[in-house]
Symmetry: C2
Subunit: 360 residues, 2 copies
């Protein structure tokens, strides 16, 4: 039988002597200075002699002080103003993102965080630049941007950061734009994942059709890259033949497909790496010939869920829109305060959905 005195373990770091956590008052007392001075040191405000700074730091170290952020924000009346910049499209994935942003805005406003939304013309780099250049550091602390990748957009992001605003890229990265973080999946791996599933699901030789959104969408490009890599390495008997540029437009995609199928009668797999699935699904439902084609799409939405349920899609690669938005918020707040964050929690997973593991 266990000793009744210690059948559980307390997991927080055991404090040495004191029971209560040290506060600014304790520091002031130990360092022999006033509260105001402690605050100056804590927040690196000017006008403190270096001797005094040292004394305070010594006390902080001795006591193992950790700032109570909630109390600090209360006193400071701190409000985080965060802006999401998204393409102004109707597609379901962006719609899901917007829904998440709106829902969380509601709750977060009780948590000193105000969310705003700005839209730019889809695939229009200049419009994104215009939006980004309008951002005013006096009323925004952080920006999350989901944008096509061009040098001009990268420069605009850099300018936003130079104003002292935290920036994360969302879904599609803008490397070398000096954004603080990227919030999204590793799209090369996502493409690889799609290829592996495709290769293992397909049971007859044939050709693979690849559908993309735009040449400037870095996420789509990276997916293509990963997809081709695994296809070449592991499934050389399958050939990736055509790449339809659908601009995330269901009708465009729907209108382009017949010709593709005429030119390539032996298609046995389709990887749709972009949005606009509605056009693809409509085409597949109307074409008996398409019945035993393995189809893999991106982003779990009502439409793609239905496609999985009815067997039109075989798998969907996805990223959780709720997680994406929460992650942006946490990272922007942390960056704005130069506070630490939990990388494990912010890693966005490459979700694989088949009909049996879909959420209800």
């Amino acid at each position: 039988m266990r000793s009744p005195r210690k059948w559980w373990t307390k997991l927080s770091k055991p404090r040495l002597k004191v029971v209560a956590k040290p506060t600014v008052n304790d520091i002031a007392r130990v360092a022999g200075v006033s509260l105001a001075t402690v605050d100056r040191v804590l927040n690196e405000r000017p006008g403190v002699r270096s001797v005094t700074i040292k004394k305070v730091h010594a006390a902080i170290a001795e006591l193992g002080y950790i700032r109570d952020t909630a109390a600090a924000n209360l006193a400071r009346r701190r409000v985080y103003n965060l802006l999401f910049v998204l393409p102004d499209t109707e597609n379901e994935f962006v719609a899901a993102l917007r829904t998440q942003i709106e829902e969380q805005a509601e709750k977060l406003s009780n948590d000193r965080t105000e969310l705003s939304l700005a839209l730019a013309a889809p695939f229009d780099a200049q419009d994104f630049v215009a939006v980004l250049d309008r951002i005013d550091p006096s009323d925004t602390d952080g920006v999350a941007v989901f944008s096509p990748e061009t040098p001009s957009v990268r420069d605009a992001v850099k300018r936003v950061r130079d104003k002292g605003i935290a920036v994360v890229t969302l879904v599609s990265d803008l490397p070398s734009s000096e954004r603080d973080h990227f919030v999204g999946i590793d799209n090369v791996s996502a493409g690889r994942t799609a290829a592996q599933l495709m290769g293992r699901f397909i049971r007859r030789p044939g050709k693979i059709l690849f559908i993309t959104g735009s040449r400037f969408a870095r996420d789509h490009l990276e997916r293509r890259q990963g997809f081709d890599l695994v296809m070449n390495e592991e499934f050389p008997e399958l050939e990736v033949v055509a790449s339809v540029e659908g601009r995330d437009d269901p009708d465009l995609i729907h209108s382009l497909l017949p010709e593709v199928f005429e030119n390539h009668p032996n298609i046995c797999g389709i990887y749709s790496s972009a949005a606009g699935n509605e056009g693809l699904i409509r085409f597949l439902k109307d074409n008996r010939a398409a019945e035993d084609i393995v189809v893999i799409g991106h982003e779990l939405t009502p439409l793609s869920q239905d496609a999985l349920r009815t067997g039109v899609f075989d798998a969907v690669i996805s990223q959780d829109s709720g997680h994406l938005v929460r992650s942006c918020v946490r990272l922007l707040r942390a960056t704005a305060d130069s506070a630490p964050y939990n990388p494990a929690q912010e890693r966005i997973r490459i979700d694989i959905y088949i009909k049996e593991n879909m959420p209800p």
Copy 2:
């Protein structure tokens, strides 16, 4: 060109007249009562005339007041004492859970939340009951328990709740124990998912081996149930032959397998629904005959990741241990305060991992 005045949208609910959010002081002023009385009404404390209560409620409604939890917790000096009850095993999944609990304990202790850990003998219902019965409501606000399912454990959980302590079940549910929430995946769906992948990956007829942990582990039972369902419905040519009860013990599993393979020479798939993968992996690596068997395991751990990487495993069904622990904490805190929570955020996903979408 957009109007420079409204190129973005503020998303929080727009307040009517006031700029600042209303506080208790505003309520007191509008209702014409004191701060203390507002507090009494807000926290449903006794000793207020119903007329007064009505006045205060009217003011609250008029102003659209929302309590500032951070400030409340500060004033209240509220500390959440949460206890995790886990089986005292060495297996990697439980180890990951423990690591997560320990890591988060560190951070959460700066957030007025203290985590503790209690261990019970694995698969030993009586020991779980003993641990649960020891829990003292004066020093714990919530309990997360990962336990086998027996009537006695269910009753013990009920007793814990009757003491006014919030309870969530973790990984393996105890329905009808009146726990407040279940934190984990839908294990029937997990089994279905494994079966679908298994069926689509296998390329030759043969038999399937099912490995479980214990008859009392509800999670394993549910996985079996889901697995059989899909196998029967969609892959009748594959027969699920044997069920090895491995008690999550690598050595036991390793020692049981040779006989199974002798009795069933035509095994083409293995679904390991429990822990103890190390024994299975060792066996598979040593047996050339096992080379083209499709193997699906549970829980992404260093071992199973390695098995995916080397092709010993074809897929892993998993649940994110970090998410599990965070979810327990959020739900226990919310339940302890009878505060609302976000169901979407607490839904634990059935993660599918193949070698291409593993985290690095």
